[in-house]
Symmetry: C2
């Protein structure tokens, strides 16, 4: 058959790339567990009716059909589709199992998701997300809105591939500003703000004007969208200054539809978040009024995360607070959560060689085979090493020793073991240094750093690989 | 919305069940790595043409369709489907990346697969497989046929949920017998042998007769299928005795189509496998002539694995040797591999409570919050513990201490930490024993066994739980 070719949007890695992916996922998982998050997995499919409830991503769903149903047309709400995120499955999982879960339910989930997009450069159609959410039963304390982005910042920092900045805002603050300005369709206006990084301040101004705002109000929104501050006092000052001057011009009214109260509440929450971040991870969290997140279901804090050395990637970790992830009868489940686009991270890390494993094989030792008839003796050495926690394999063949050493070398395995012949002692060779010593499989140990594959991390590009 | 209900065939676990799944997968992964296997993951989809090449499972493929293509009918070979095993993707991955892989390529792969079967009791449509294969370039030494089932036996034993017996046979031996008997359609005859556990010896006899064998030959095959031996000498004796007596009756001819030579070669390989198994894991491997594996592509050793305490589950780990996993031009890639049905194992383990985690949360400590205004102090204690590798979280609320302790208790978290007030020292309480002591977050450590979630394993049923 012809040599198969990759399918656009469905990334796969060579063994060295998969090692990096496992390392990244393992690091995230370790940080999530250290903070007491319980890991779940959900099935890959949901009923189509469930997937389309929010409407937003209807164009991106992959629908499943059994092969023998090829001629069937159309779908119904029970047709199965692949999940396109881990939030819809979480909402369904919480409702399905509410009676057996403990709330607040702190859950992590790292899984593949699929989006049936048209293939295009840089868009993944199969990718891994790493989600962290806390779900409350009827209520959820605000402090989780502070904790979650800080845990994500810690997890991303633990990768050691660069610096990450969490941009935060609060929907109440943004909505309060809009209501005070008399904007009728607040969601649509925020949708324009959400685009400012793509269209620029001028584009935003034009967009808002075409959307129906007068020039003065469009300018006010554009000014608002430009506010950034790492410091609570600076943020408060900037927002207060804007609303005060807008009030003086008669453009903003704190009493219109409770605008002032909503804005105050949002500002209080956002400054509390900045204060805590300043204490715990100084310099990592910045308030940015342009961050509003398109999705309607966010009701409090919203987050996006920029990888400073790779800003062109866009947000690598986003999320926010939602008052009603799910609802059943009178019971609502509020939540706060963020999601890391793991595949997007890995893809860049591999392209730039930011994390490099020091070997491909988990083996610490390849035990040489001097004669195929003596394989059992070599197997015995390997088993003795494994029993003591030292990964070891026996050489594929009893080829010349040079060839057996090259087998180990190609995989980066640091040691080759030579069983002793005719009563002689075994010897082990460090093939990096060439040092060879007498050794006993019952007692020999490699340097501790050789027991596991090690990764070299760097934060700037050093040539592509994989 | 109404409470969602599970979808038949798409299993999901509660957090405690997911812990068991992670533990099982982690154990398998650890054993695979200890033997030097390199882990890969492949995308979930393959072109339909690739999935249907073998023809065997064409009825079970889930085909993907983008939502907006709802009205499209029919498929072509480039239509994407979900993989139904990990062997087809491996073959494709090896061909696609052959120039960048090291051979023999020892790979492990643990991933979900999907089968579009009609929903029925006990059948999974989404499940996890754990595969181990060694792929050679043009040639693959026989010793891997010995090693792989032993590694799988070691991995299954490491789960500590019972005893596993690997049943082995060799296609050459079985085919040699058939050829010597003059059976024309050897594959079809072996297909009948493959069914003997379901239809019994009488059913096999009837089936073979209807299929076209004379009574004497049908009896010979039935006798052959009944041979089992854990010991190389006993196996050789039984097979030799059968062929000798069949030859004497004029039913079997060693010279017919090279039957004798093929049978000898198969017997030599199988006895070598039994000898090695006897040395390394006595009592685990048994030769059984009824094991022939339905699939045509096996050409040497074949394996099935029975969980002795749960025999009704059928084989939980199967596979074999294939001379041509993939082929490109003149180059063939022979291999040997086995696949564990992980979800089937987990499902039974959970149903019988054979593995039980001692807590749900990874947290070792819940740090109490005495007053919501003091949360920062509690956060600081938790951060200090985490910095020293002790998973810790801060209490959800500053509720009464009894309620905070109950929060920890419900999740099985062993310790609750009380920050000292007004200059007093902190204290930590083991909520299992009630012991409470003065402690310093910079130095305190729990008993080592409390650092990670522990699993209690047992081999017999003790009531269901999930």
């Amino acid at each position: 058959m012809a040599r198969p070719r990759p399918i656009s949007g469905f990334p796969e890695w060579l063994p060295s790339g998969r090692l990096v992916e496992s390392h990244v996922v393992g690091t995230l998982r370790r940080v999530f567990a250290a903070h007491g998050f319980v890991e779940i997995e959900t099935r890959a499919v949901e009923p189509l009716g469930e997937l389309l409830r929010k409407g937003e991503t209807s164009q991106e769903v992959y629908v499943l059909r059994r092969l023998q149903d090829a001629d069937r047309q159309g779908y119904d709400s029970r047709t199965l589709g692949l999940h396109f995120d881990l939030t819809v499955p979480l909402a369904r999982y919480v409702l399905e199992n509410a009676g057996q879960l403990d709330f607040p339910f702190k859950r992590s989930q790292i899984q593949k998701v699929w989006r049936g997009e048209r293939p295009q450069e840089g868009r993944f159609r199969e990718f891994v997300q790493a989600d962290l959410d806390v779900i409350g039963l009827a209520e959820l304390p605000f402090h989780y809105e502070v904790e979650l982005p800080l845990i994500m910042a810690e997890a991303l920092a633990a990768l050691q591939v660069g610096s990450f900045r969490v941009l935060v805002n609060n929907r109440k603050l943004a909505e309060g500003l809009m209501l005070g300005l008399g904007v009728e369709d607040v969601g649509a206006a925020l949708g324009w703000v959400d685009k400012v990084d793509k269209i620029g301040a001028d584009g935003l101004l034009t967009g808002l004007t075409e959307f129906g705002l007068d020039t003065a109000r469009a300018q006010a929104v554009t000014q608002f969208a430009a506010i950034q501050a790492a410091d609570a006092a600076a943020l408060s000052a900037a927002v207060r200054q804007l609303t005060t001057s807008l009030s003086a011009e008669g453009l903003w009214d704190a009493n219109r539809q409770g605008a002032g109260e909503l804005l105050d509440q949002g500002l209080a929450e956002l400054t509390a978040l900045l204060d805590a971040a300043q204490r715990r991870v100084p310099g990592t969290v910045v308030a940015a009024m342009k961050i509003v997140r398109g999705l309607d279901y966010y009701t409090g804090s919203v987050y996006e995360t920029v990888w400073l050395e790779q800003e062109d990637l866009g947000s690598v970790c986003s999320g926010g607070r939602y008052d009603s992830l799910a609802k059943q009868g009178d019971i609502t489940y509020p939540g706060v959560g963020l999601s890391i686009g793991v595949t997007r991270l890995i893809s860049r890390i591999l392209a730039l060689g930011l994390l490099r494993p020091n070997r491909i094989s988990p083996s610490v030792v390849v035990v040489a085979v001097l004669d195929e008839g003596d394989r059992a003796a070599s197997d015995k050495v390997a088993a003795a090493l494994r029993a003591r926690g030292i990964a070891a394999e026996t050489s594929p063949t009893a080829a010349k020793l040079g060839k057996q050493i090259r087998y180990a070398d190609r995989l980066g395995v640091p040691f080759v073991w030579f069983p002793g012949v005719e009563g002689e002692a075994d010897q082990v060779k460090d093939i990096r240094s060439g040092d060879q010593t007498v050794a006993d499989a019952a007692t020999w140990a490699p340097p501790p750093a050789d027991l596991q594959i090690q990764f070299t991390a760097q934060t700037d590009a050093a040539g592509a690989e994989n």
